[in-house]
Symmetry: C2
Subunit: 379 residues, 2 copies
Amino acid sequence: MSLAFEIHARDGRARTGSLRTTRGDIRTPAFMPVGTAATVKAMRPESVRETGADILLGNTYHLMLRPGAERVARLGGLHRFMNWHGPILTDSGGFQVMSLASLRKLTEEGVRFASHIDGSRHMLSPESSMEIQRLLGSDIVMAFDECPALPADRGRIAESMRLSMRWAQRSRDAFGDRPGHALFGIQQGGLEQDLRLESAEALRGIGFDGYAIGGLAVGEGQEAMFGVLDHAPDMLPDDRPRYLMGVGKPDDIVGAVQRGVDMFDCVLPSRSGRTGQAWTRRGPVNLRNARHRDDSRPLDADCTCPACRGYSRAYLHHVIRADEIIGSMLLTWHNLHYYQELMAGMRAAIATGTLPEFAAAFHAQRAEGDIEPITGDSA
Amino acid sequence: MSLAFEIHARDGRARTGSLRTTRGDIRTPAFMPVGTAATVKAMRPESVRETGADILLGNTYHLMLRPGAERVARLGGLHRFMNWHGPILTDSGGFQVMSLASLRKLTEEGVRFASHIDGSRHMLSPESSMEIQRLLGSDIVMAFDECPALPADRGRIAESMRLSMRWAQRSRDAFGDRPGHALFGIQQGGLEQDLRLESAEALRGIGFDGYAIGGLAVGEGQEAMFGVLDHAPDMLPDDRPRYLMGVGKPDDIVGAVQRGVDMFDCVLPSRSGRTGQAWTRRGPVNLRNARHRDDSRPLDADCTCPACRGYSRAYLHHVIRADEIIGSMLLTWHNLHYYQELMAGMRAAIATGTLPEFAAAFHAQRAEGDIEPITGDSA
């Protein structure tokens, strides 16, 4: 195995540990901010680091189209290009090609598609995805997979999962042996427990440095997702990191950590920051709402991020309403800070065997709601 | 006089000194970044300070409309609201109401207008402008003036200037005595030397803490502007700061400093940063241009700003083309850094009596052009 993964403590099914890369350790459970097009939107990489992030996610689909993987390689790789010198995980492009590209044609070989940017024609396959992720210089490479949107019938899900497992083997073969770089396989199977098990067994047979749980957070709802997570993580090797792709809201993440997941990524904290939504200990707060217009209090008096230390809710409301860039900058920072603080809290709780108490306090604080009742409508 | 102004050295007509405010000293010649709507766009105030700025400009017209001057006052004033604790100069609203508002009606009393944001009806007069700037908590308040667009006939310019001088007296009367706060008068008169002199004499008769040169940089061109500046600063009191409003490009500023101007403001470095234009020692560089696509060199190898220290031209090109917020953040920072470095260079040159050499080197370096010839078109 290319990257050492040490589990320091367990609490129920939850684990805390370190995934060691040549570019630094990743403390788990870990949240990975998404740097789609070689930037975590509205953040300088130094600021992303200040929030407590150990690792970023880059999107193969976006980067292969613009600026192009060969260009990034010529310019010294993605780390140097985007000035982030910690580890980077790249997705395989499989999910985004299905959600963003047009004129898609799926075959056993891979997916042909047209760029959503300029209509240019491209092909993604297990082999080309491995090559693109190698050119980008990714530390953790994801196997190329296909992910059907839910709901889908069982036949479609089984067929798709088996294709993804054949692609997983081809990804493994194409990846080869790259010391210091890891390859993760991705479990599929929708909400079907037997298909999830079949997928996990196929991946274990191939052998990966880590295992992702794919195909969730695509509209099935938290209850259905937790239903899968009640079993799926335990189907994967205990001694390797488990990564739940594209998840999620803070309460999704807490529930998934309790079920044995080690790694997460999601655009939610950055995307919602740009629209004026803050995530806090007391739940989501919509700063566009008129009730904040004259509120001299910080978003969260106990938060140490720059948005909460330097500004009132009234200011954040003003700059979000006025479409000022600093609104996106401050709220993205706050949200990423909150997410990282949540992960740090869970790591500490697992280490001291108090994760149930941590989770109970997390839910109780959210149930109290924001610091005053919402009296106006968001507009 | 409310604010002490000390001239430390002179070189020809140029001067370097300090304008002392209760919120810190302003080193002159000074460039004031523009924080229109309580933010220097795409910059955190800490970052603006890091570029070397001593003072910001706030726009009375924008702030009175959104979030409103009374609201800013209730929230503790503009400094606290926007988290900038150095001095702030506010314009009078006179220029922007004429360029942005609709349904304007100009009378002896003032200007009635409709907001460009929501069509709401408002009035600006010398008295209301003084009150709004007081509510904002401005350190340096500008007299309310009217500024005709050029070209305009001599009769219109004379009439407008005389109205502005009556308004200057009313501004002075309404401002009253506010220790720690300064009021600047604004010279008008277009390109007409005798009207400029008449205006200067009117302002000197009223008595202000500083004197602005208004009505320039409105389309007359650099030669015509320098023609006015060959005489206008000398019409104003030698022992008070002289502020050229809304100027300008780096070479405009160098020429104006050589002609005795102490203070400047302009949206150019921040606005052009958001569109991909960088200002450098070697002149303007358009980072949208395809020639930067594969260029691994920094924008300016000798610049110490974060954009030049951390990123290649290829990266800046990529994020500008992809409309990523970090493109605006990095290029605005670079441009403000370059402007402040230019001001610091002129202050040092004046102090050592070498401003002519400094200016000659400035022009020679720009004449060399960018680090390689432009081979593509901007697109």
